[in-house]
């Protein structure tokens, strides 16, 4: 077995390159200059393999502040040092084992982050939402409302964005106010509602944080009775009561942190991030829709309306909307929703929410 050999040494203090003799002493490497002076003594258990080109064994002293380096090119000497020193890993076996550990734990971390995104985040957002003061929610809503208004408004020209301000729309506005007053009194929410009918062709209604409810003109045109319209509004009030908008903002922020900052930062990761966000967000929102349906039915029962109206209007709209992949649906399937609404509706006595003339006026709220 080789017990000494030639190598190259850098002492870490200067860049001078020295040819040295390496002696394999019982307890460590003894590095001697050509004149015999001992330059360094490194115990075997403190040797460290460093990254080097192939065919070179580059050694340093572990945890040493100086960057002294010993470069061994003689394969026999390298093998002999490897033999005696435990930390040296010339075959790379230890490195591979370490790497396997790293891979295992990063896979585990990925899996647990995905689990948190699917099950943990909605829970956390639900727990956090009540902690957010209504004043903050109101501000958040006002900011979002500005943006939504700007984005919707750009689509049309001329007439005002919201219905009910024109001279011919006054009576419709009064009827809408009467309907909203009944709903709002029964709902008894901690924040005031701001409900508007807006000039939009789509058959839809949206709720923003802070009690903003927009009923689109297209939906109003489709509604045949006050109960149908009241049903949709009561459903939207459910979103306000459950603070779904604020929760969605919290969920979106949490998702952006998980998918975008922690996960998905690699080439092609953008698609994963986008898909993850969209699928999870629609999943969260489906649960919120079901809860809002239940709230809407209960609210309509309380004011004496017919909760089946919501189901009727939903079935009518469903025929006109475009079919798409189910995992991208942010609402549960309509047939399922209608069935659940029918079941919850019960058979409490109903009374008209608006008289015939008022309903006719309301239908004309966007007459212009």
């Amino acid at each position: 077995m080789t017990s000494s050999g030639a190598a190259i040494f850098f002492d870490g203090a200067t860049s001078a390159r020295r040819g040295v003799d390496v002696e394999l002493a019982p307890d460590g490497l003894r590095i001697r200059a050509s004149d015999g002076a001992v330059l360094a003594e490194w115990p075997y258990d403190r040797l460290e393999t460093l990254s080097a080109p192939e065919g070179v064994l580059r050694l340093g002293e572990a945890d040493s502040p100086a960057l002294a380096r010993l470069e061994v090119r003689d394969p026999q000497l390298a093998a002999a040092i490897d033999e005696r020193s435990l930390p040296i890993d010339r075959s790379g076996r230890r490195e591979r084992r370490m790497r396997a550990k790293v891979i295992f734990w990063s896979l585990a971390a990925t899996a647990s982050l995905v689990v948190v995104a699917v099950w943990g985040l909605p829970r956390i957002a639900t727990e956090l939402t009540p902690l957010i003061p209504y004043s903050v929610e109101r501000k958040l809503g006002a900011a979002i409302e500005r943006q939504v208004r700007a984005s919707l408004q750009s689509h049309h020209t001329g007439a005002a964005f919201e219905c009910g301000s024109g001279a011919k729309e006054k009576s419709g506005r009064a009827a809408f106010a009467k309907l909203m007053q009944q709903i709002e009194t029964a709902a008894d929410l901690p924040i005031p509602l701001t409900a508007l009918v807006v000039r939009q062709r789509e058959e839809n209604a949206i709720t923003l944080p802070g009690g903003y409810i927009y009923v689109f003109q297209g939906l109003l045109d489709k509604a045949q009775t006050p109960d149908e319209l009241a049903g949709v509004i009561a459903h939207e009030v459910g979103h306000v009561a459950h603070r779904d908008g604020t929760r969605a903002v919290l969920q979106a922020a949490g998702l952006s942190l998980l998918f975008g900052m922690l996960l998905g930062d690699f080439v092609g990761g953008g698609a994963v991030v986008l898909a993850g966000k969209v699928i999870l967000q629609t999943r969260y929102s489906r649960d919120a829709e079901t809860a809002a349906d239940a709230y809407g039915v209960a609210l309509l029962n309380r004011i004496g309306g017919d909760p089946r109206g919501l189901g009727r209007l939903l079935s009518q709209i469903a025929g006109t909307t475009h079919p798409g992949p189910k995992i991208l649906l942010d609402h549960p399937e309509t047939a399922e929703r209608v069935a659940v609404i029918e079941k919850m509706a019960g058979s409490a006595p109903t009374r008209p929410l608006l008289d015939r003339a008022e309903w006719a006026a309301l239908k004309n709220i966007c007459a212009g």
């Binding site: 200067t14 860049s15 990254s51 960057l67 990063s106 982050l113 900052m261 930062d265 092609g268 189910k326």
Partner: protein, 420 residues
């Protein structure tokens, strides 16, 4: 070793190299391919968490296979440091994002504009600090490199120059490069040997001016004629419901579209043809401006070499595209057959996951090919094109400088402004 590598190696061997001033790259390309392919699979499985380890492996490979005057460089950074830097960066950025969001709610949109500027500044700050991390993890002959200077000052300078580049349509680029590189290099040290940069912005401008004329002038001209072709008043007054063809005609939108298409074609064409020349000019200029004490660097990089690198990338990318097509097309039929029996929800989930996986695999494939051909190829070309004078100086350098924290790398990673 491919035929291309062999040609390059043969060319290298045949060249007369000045005594003492030789830089060599001895890396085995196959090992690099393997490292990247392995890394790409793990990136996909860990949704990117593995990137700290892959980055470290790539740097170790590039550094340790680069040899100057018979001694190779050493990268002493670890993946653990990069991960730590990233976590610290998150701890800084998450409250910052939240604060910008909350302030924007109460104070209005102006805050988001200011927030964006702060983030841009922070990005440049990160670039400088990340460079400091990399330099202090670069060891040559048992002596480390280091970097001094204020990262905030650099960030302000960089923001100023990049704004100027945008305003001058790129004409300020050579001067910006020369100024910023001067800032970096006069704060760069190898042990106690101070670095500096002597590339002249004017010289780079003169070398690249024709490229600028060919690429930017037609582009701006096309853009302007597009804007001028549109009759804005007609466009605003006419509604889309009117007769479409006359409306297109009178508003000038039709000719604007033609201009837009021509401009885009020119942009893509000039980019594909001129970018390698531009890169060769800038790299040669940059490398030839580097100085460490009395050591002066010159580069013999040839433009043809850079074209060769990109040609190789194109060749491999085409082969990969063909291979991916051969796998994806029958694969999707097979998937449709296999999931035919399942209910629609399960089918959608499986199809979505399969499509995502295919997309990510293909994107990572291209990225791997890019890294293995362009990045490695350029590194090799540039490194082997270098000549150094007074190399003996490198033997008498005293150690100086301390290792720097990896926070800059973490910030650069989180803000996606990375370097190597």
């Amino acid at each position: 070793m491919t035929t291309f590598d062999a040609t390059v190696a043969a060319a290298q061997a045949g060249r007369i190299v000045p005594a003492g001033g030789i830089v060599r790259f001895g890396g085995d390309a196959r090992r690099f391919w393997l490292l990247l392919a392995h890394g790409a699979i793990l990136l996909m499985c860990t949704l990117g968490i593995y990137r700290f380890w892959l980055t470290t492996d790539i740097r170790r490979y590039l550094w340790s296979n680069t040899e100057l005057a018979g001694e190779s460089f050493e990268y002493t950074g670890t993946a653990r440091e990069l991960l730590l830097g990233f976590l610290i960066a998150l701890a800084i950025l998450v409250p910052l994002y939240a604060a910008v969001f909350l302030l924007a709610l109460s104070l209005g949109e102006m805050v988001s504009v200011i927030g964006l500027m702060v983030l841009t500044l922070l990005g440049q700050y990160a670039v400088y600090r990340a460079r400091r991390y990399r330099l202090t993890r670069t060891v040559y002959r048992g002596v480390r490199f280091h970097q001094t200077g204020s990262a905030w000052r650099y960030a302000v300078c960089a923001l100023f120059w990049w704004t100027l580049i945008a305003l001058t349509l790129g004409l300020a680029y050579p001067f910006a490069q020369s100024r910023l590189e001067r800032f970096k290099m006069r704060n760069t040290f190898f042990g106690n040997l101070p670095g500096r940069f002597e590339g002249s912005g004017l010289r780079l401008l003169l070398r690249g001016f024709v490229l600028w004329l060919l690429a930017v002038v037609p582009f701006v001209g096309g853009l302007l004629s597009m804007l001028l072709a549109v009759n804005w008043r007609t466009l605003a007054s006419a509604s889309a419901r009117d007769d479409l063809s006359t409306w297109l005609e009178t508003s000038g939108l039709a000719s604007a579209v033609v201009y837009a298409v021509l401009t885009t074609i020119w942009l893509l064409l000039s980019f594909a043809l001129l970018y390698p020349i531009f890169q060769a000019v800038v790299l040669r200029w940059w490398a030839s401006g580097l100085r460490f004490g009395e050591v002066a660097v010159t580069s013999r990089l040839r433009t043809a070499q850079v074209y060769g690198v990109y040609a190789r990338f194109l060749l491999y990318a085409l082969l990969f595209t063909a291979a991916a097509g051969v796998i994806v097309v029958p694969g999707s039929f097979l998937l449709a057959r296999l999931t035919g029996e399942l209910d629609s929800m399960a089918k959608e989930i499986i199809t979505t996951i399969a499509a995502l996986a295919a997309y990510v695999a293909i994107a990572l494939g291209y990225s791997t090919i890019y890294q293995a051909t362009v990045r490695l190829g350029l590194w090799r070309c540039v490194v082997e094109s270098l000549d150094l004078s007074n190399v003996a100086v490198l033997e008498q350098v005293s150690a100086a400088g301390e290792p720097a924290s990896p926070v800059g790398e973490g910030l650069a990673d989180a803000l996606s402004v990375g370097g190597i």
